[in-house]
Symmetry: C2
Subunit: 155 residues, 2 copies
């Protein structure tokens, strides 16, 4: 049991919706041998309680000209609250930055950058990322191939 608030039915619903959120309540009720009203009630509660944050469409990035994914490791000059906050506030404004995590270890932040190609990445780097204050180093690694990319957590 993951959480005292969730029973087996809740977990099964989350498993299904993580994989395919276009399933109707009717389809879920059939799979789980419950009534439609029960599924409806559970899904509503799971959304209200914040287990389900949002429902999104996942696009094929190669078809929308976002073929290049980079992971950029950023090291800052210092770690005052002010420096950290400023960096975070500014970096999340860039469209190309899909993710930003503060990390343990030999660098401060890891960014996932999505651009069309290396030229666009270079432009992002020179004209956006490198203009932010207090950056010591940026080390970038590029995705050669995608072996697995999943948004569903194991439950």
């Amino acid at each position: 049991m993951i959480n005292s608030e969730l029973d087996t039915t809740d977990i099964e619903i989350l498993k299904l919706l993580q994989r395919d959120a276009s399933l109707t309540n009717k389809e879920i009720s059939f799979k789980l041998h419950k009534s439609i009203a029960t599924i409806h009630e559970r899904v509503k509660r799971l959304k209200e309680q914040g287990y389900i944050q949002r429902v999104v469409a996942i696009l094929n990035r190669k078809k929308i000209n976002r073929s290049l994914i980079a992971f950029s490791q950023v090291l800052l000059n210092d770690h005052t609250a002010d420096t950290l906050n400023t960096f975070e506030q500014e970096v999340i404004k860039f469209d190309e930055v899909m993710e930003c995590f503060q990390m343990t270890g030999t660098f401060d932040f890891i960014l996932r950058i999505a651009t069309s190609d290396m030229e666009a990445y270079h432009s992002f780097y020179r004209n956006k990322l490198a203009t932010l204050p207090n950056i010591t180093t940026v080390q970038s690694f590029f995705v050669l191939s995608e072996t697995k990319s999943d948004t569903a957590y194991p439950l």
Copy 2:
């Protein structure tokens, strides 16, 4: 223009559905000042042509006991097709591995690992990841805080 197959309306639809795929065609038609029939036709085509890969529920990982995210950089002994293929085939079987990318640079793969806590990560590392053949080194970095985490590509 991103792609000759897509016009402004298509792009706007993709932007909206990337953020919130629970929008009805009626709501989208109102936002974009188009008819429901047009939106219906476009969305259907965008799914058929593979622009929209799938629709998923994004869960709050902290509420489902997946609080710890690690990025692990893996270096292999050699880069024969056999070694690469074996590693990829095996590593994607692990539930904890949400993403696996082959990378340019000083290591071969980057993995995104989701576990409940450091103990669970350690168990994953010792009993699963480290048992795979031909691994030279694994360097892991842990997420301290999530500044931005988005599945939507800029369009």
